[in-house]
Symmetry: C2
Subunit: 339 residues, 2 copies
DNA sequence: TTGTACGCGTTATCAG
DNA sequence: CTGATAACGCGTACAA
């Protein structure tokens, strides 16, 4: 049986409420009493029971993390450990705990979130993805649960707090970079179109082409739904064209790896035969071969800021909705070549 | 204000205790009452408050996950999302919640674990790594917190429940595979030596050589502490040898990628000039170039079983210590060649 | 400055 | 089969 506030009180010859006030560092307790009680707490190795405290304070000091469904392999993307590292950092310094959504399918995850929220396990929630028509988001909205989103909400932009990159701008930048390298036939390889990040990056790509006076060809725009098997189709489609692209904007490093690998099988070499830029600057983009020219989107900060704003929202319920844009930076390596 | 058990009781014309019994599906409640109460619960959208329940039952229905410190990049290893997926699955079906350790440095993580455990946030804990002389493990041992470990404990093997692969056997297997391919000069590239997994795989490698009557040369055994910068040194060391190895056993896919990349810079090609086998069968080992011959260690199951046994331990405090070995399987791809 | 008394939402024990 | 009543460990008005 763990030591409780009563044990401390008894040992210090005060009442539990006094001990409670010492814990809260109430200004109305004499220094002397505080010192005595603190000493006793130390001696007894007292740790407040958070369940009890939470029950009394009607809050949990816990934030929930909601992952996308992990049925597709996208889950293995090292993007997630990185965001979590950022969140974890902020949580640690603010003494918040982190709780994870459980389950695999979309349905399970939804159930998990409902359980987590309804049963009062968390004070707020971070959505680690942004998808069109997301049930989870609708639920949180409905229940008025404080939440922040990593990525751009597909609606209610001004009403939902989120932290994102300027994905349109970034995609525009890299496309221009390719244009400056002399490429004219530039393709775009995206992921699932229901993901906001895909939409934004595609938009940036299109804008850059338009500004350069290059017509957008839908033959050059492909979407790879499932990593692994998807790459085959995409590449097949691309190389069957009469005029194959000389460069590709790919929305994710992992996908870029897949592309490189599949292209290679067809005897097409990167960057000699085709240039590739991608996004995220995952660790493995340096380990790739060739090392990838990619956009560093500061994943850690994405998580850190998301946690920070969420905690602010929890503490101050009428905090206004915010939009935070984390800066990005293109990292030039060896996957692109002048034409 | 959420709807509580009292609201339900009032609306159903019974007492809170009856409602509580209906929730627990007590056999001593009439079917009729049960039906009525359940209907009311549904109508009101009642969800039990877990904090209160936990307080009363003195348990939390939550398991804690403890990550290694994330200061080094090892954290970006997709190994973790995968184990977590396994844990998450088991947790979901058993209605357990998952809580994460917070913090970045070893010290912070230790503090986090102490906080998590002492303040009663979790019923038990899964250690996602296995390291020599780990403070956290000592703490859990001391406080008699139920825990399972993924990997092999460096001591008290028979006393601590853990789930692991037969890493010695697996390493032996792949080394033999290389021997059969005709290789005689086989090197070993490991990670930090304080990690049990490194030790075991190295042992398997050595045993295979011994059995083949090949002397173990310490020139051929190198350890890459930090991914990224480490590869350079390791490769430099290896190629400076008079007789360079013709094959390499590398303990992790990510490291293998790094090796391939660095070797390439020196004009050494895989598998033409040197063969490589590695471990884990991460998604990206298929995306690598060349696709990696690697050992699938069933990461998902590692997590799933760890969660399962932990929950058994929590429910039954005198459950004996167990050792679970998850089967592995070598996946042959294109990073090795006959000599 | 400190103590008293009650409440937070449940479960458990003991009656009936 | 169901209803009181007392915990669980802590926070907080209110009183002193």
């Amino acid at each position: 049986m763990a030591v409780t506030i009563k044990d401390v009180a008894k040992a210090a010859n005060v009442t539990p409420s006094t001990v409670s006030r010492v814990i809260a560092d109430s200004p109305r307790i004499s220094i002397k009493t505080k010192q005595k009680v603190r000493q006793v707490m130390k001696d007894l190795g007292y740790q407040p029971n958070l369940n009890a405290r939470n029950l009394a304070k009607r809050c949990t000091q816990t934030i929930g993390l909601i992952m996308p469904n992990s049925t597709d392999k996208v889950f293995q993307n090292p993007f997630f450990p990185e965001v979590i590292r950022g969140i974890s950092n902020m949580a640690h310094t603010t003494e918040y705990a982190i709780q994870f959504s459980t389950g695999e399918t979309e349905e399970q995850i939804y159930d998990g979130v409902v359980r987590m929220v309804q049963s009062g396990r968390v004070d707020g929630v971070i959505l680690l993805y942004s998808r069109i028509n997301d049930k989870v988001m609708a639920f949180l909205e409905d229940k008025e649960v404080p939440y922040t989103m990593i990525g751009k909400p597909y609606q209610n932009m001004d009403k939902t707090t989120h932290v994102d990159n300027d994905n349109i701008g970034a995609a525009k930048e890299v496309t221009k970079y390719l244009l400056n390298l002399g490429h004219k036939r530039i393709g775009f390889v995206g992921g699932n179109l229901s993901l906001m990040v895909t939409k934004d990056r595609r938009q940036g790509y299109e804008e850059a082409l338009e500004e350069a006076g290059i017509a957008i060809s839908h033959d050059y725009i492909v979407h790879e739904d499932s990593l692994i098997e998807g790459g085959q189709e995409v590449v097949a489609k691309l190389i069957s064209l009469e005029e194959t692209p000389t460069a590709l904007v790919v929305v994710d490093d992992l996908m870029a790896l897949d592309m490189i690998n599949t292209l290679e099988k067809h005897g097409i070499r990167v960057p000699d035969d085709i240039s590739i830029v991608s996004f995220n600057n995952l660790l493995l983009s340096q380990l790739a071969h060739p090392p990838l020219t990619t956009v560093d989107i500061n994943i850690h900060d994405l998580g850190f800021q998301a946690a920070k704003t969420l905690i602010e929202m929890i503490k101050n319920s009428n905090e206004p909705a915010k939009r935070l844009i984390i800066p990005h930076k293109m990292i030039e390596r060896n996957s692109c070549k002048k034409i």
